[in-house]
Subunit: 353 residues, 2 copies
């Protein structure tokens, strides 16, 4: 057996482009168009570079305690990681450790099957219905675990909490992860259920509603027992995942929820205006509970729009994948970014006539 | 099969204590006693909090290119991660992917067996000889891979590069990881061998010689082919591991190698003076090529000294493990910290008479 045979070979997740050229309108990775709270800048000015010589607090207590305060939880119910991707990867490794297939939708966050492949977790992708809805009854059967993005990505569709509760009730023997990366943009969180369901893990992130993708902070909330298992795996992987700046600046982000709420309200307003304008242009789209819209045009191929927009330095997301190749996912930017996006679309539509 | 049966349960690595009380002399986690270069503070002042709303560069190019410049390598030969623990964990997951046992010494960095357990990699711990030396010939046999800390931890002993080359030559069919966390304190790096041995991975860190444990930066250097496999696994785990502050501040650290060299020289001087003083006090210790000393006293149990020092707010490391339970590992601090440590020892020795 040679060197190559001993190496794990995987097809990695491909994140949205991070273009380095300037003047780009970036509507492709669901970042927040508004900067983080001014408290972050203040906290940065108070960071003591001299202390960087020391290891950070492995428990990231300052950050965890602000999260506990924010959500009215006990610190033992919270786990933090390097973005929700790190948290979800650790959850997959910890909770999906059996020979039974885990379940998730065929159209969803495209990292789920990548993690399953990486950790050799058997999985089954359950087709969404013809309207891209999750049917809870599809998830009421013996399985190794369940992961659901809510609102779902890239569709933006929300599954109401009572439907999630049905799934939890039907699956007491496996962990159900609800990935709520986009929940703050109009959805209702399943978080209140963690005290009643010992099999629920709710995962959220600082990258979207909290304007801090660059800091890489995600967190899981669950029964303390599940959090303990998760922490044990994390401490078996890397004792110190959160660096000093992320702990301090993350805590500062949480101290300004008024600011976060204000930005969210603006984004929701922009989203609704953009959705209305797109419908006027003939696009077909459902209501979104996220900071993006999932749109298609009945006549024009999505790939063509994707390339046309890119030529105009407007980046959106398009996947050459079954069932969704006629769609674009468009992040909600500022009002003026969305106007530029709409004008570009108008040009592309006119050029075609 | 119930919920609990589907959960991965592990015994985690236990890092050295990070005491929160003040006035402590911390000689227990091999941190650098000197703050990072003043360039780090400057770079911090230039960080744009407004940009934290965006994802960081997934390739961490600014940091990788400074590493390439520092070591005269191509960027394709470099991989970065959240501390060398993250890098090593990714290496284990990527390169030790067979049913053959991997090999490492019985006395070494105590994370190796934890990673092997976590990822279910079969392993064999090869006893160091009676002088705590690695015998290269023990590693010249069929195996799934090899990992060697050089200088070894917690012994501080160095394996000369020609000996490492023998191991590389004897094992063309598996990856050999040389974990050089402490190499800058007097050892010779195996790095020049990466261009000749496609099975060598050299791992280093910012946490020790570069005074930046709080930033969590580690890196691997190897043939571009190995780096590509490693990156694929990393991108299947978390696209954006390095946050914006770590990329920017890490690059600043590398721009001041003169400062790093100066701190290293001071630490080596302090180490040699401390070693001489300890020998005078009756301690037995070998020469160390790291920023710590591995010491024992022929009469006094290490645990007793460990506790006595802790009462005096001086933290060192002691393991209740076979073969090394009579030893203490003592990080080299500043001259005045080491004087306080030596006086405390003198008191403990006197009290005992």
């Amino acid at each position: 057996m040679g060197l190559e045979d001993k190496i794990r070979k995987v097809v990695p997740y491909v994140p949205g482009e991070q273009p380095k050229e300037s003047g780009v309108i970036k509507l492709n990775t669901n970042e927040n168009p508004y900067p983080p709270s001014p408290l972050v800048r203040e906290a940065m000015e108070r960071l003591q570079a001299d202390r960087f010589r020391l290891y950070p607090d492995p428990a990231a207590s300052e950050l965890v305690s602000e999260l506990a305060r924010t959500y009215g939880l006990d610190e033992s119910q919270i786990f933090v990681g390097v973005g929700s991707d790190d948290v979800l990867a650790m959850c997959f490794l910890t909770f999906f450790n059996s020979d039974s297939s885990i379940l998730f939708p065929d159209i969803t966050y495209s990292f789920y099957d990548v993690w399953a492949e990486l950790f050799r977790i058997p999985y089954e992708q359950i087709p969404l219905d013809e309207n891209f809805r999750i049917r809870p009854e599809d998830y009421m059967r013996k399985c190794g675990g369940i992961v659901i993005a809510n609102p779902n990505a890239p569709t933006g569709r929300l599954l109401p909490v009572p439907e999630i509760e049905k799934i939890l009730k039907a699956n007491p023997d496996c962990v159900v992860i609800v990935d709520e990366a986009y929940i703050d943009f109009g959805g209702e969180s399943a978080l209140p259920l963690i005290s009643r369901y010992g099999n629920l893990v709710v995962v959220q992130t600082f990258s979207k509603s909290r304007s801090s993708a660059g800091l890489r902070i995600g967190y899981a909330m669950a029964d303390p027992k599940l959090i303990r298992y998760l922490s044990d795996v994390k401490y078996s992987f890397n004792s110190y995942t959160m660096n000093m700046p992320s702990i301090k600046l993350g805590a500062a982000v949480l101290r300004d929820s008024a600011y976060t709420e204000k930005c969210i309200a603006k984004i929701i307003r922009t989203r609704e205006n953009t959705a209305a304008a797109l419908r006027k242009l003939g696009f077909i789209l459902d209501d979104s509970c996220a900071n993006f819209l999932f749109i298609r045009h009945p006549q024009i191929p999505a790939e063509e729009l994707f390339r046309g927009l890119k030529e105009r330095k407007i980046y959106v997301r398009w996947w050459n994948k079954p069932r969704i190749s006629s769609y674009l996912r468009v992040t909600i930017g500022t009002d003026s970014e969305m106007e530029a996006f709409l004008s570009a679309l108008r040009c592309l539509l006119t050029d075609r006539k």
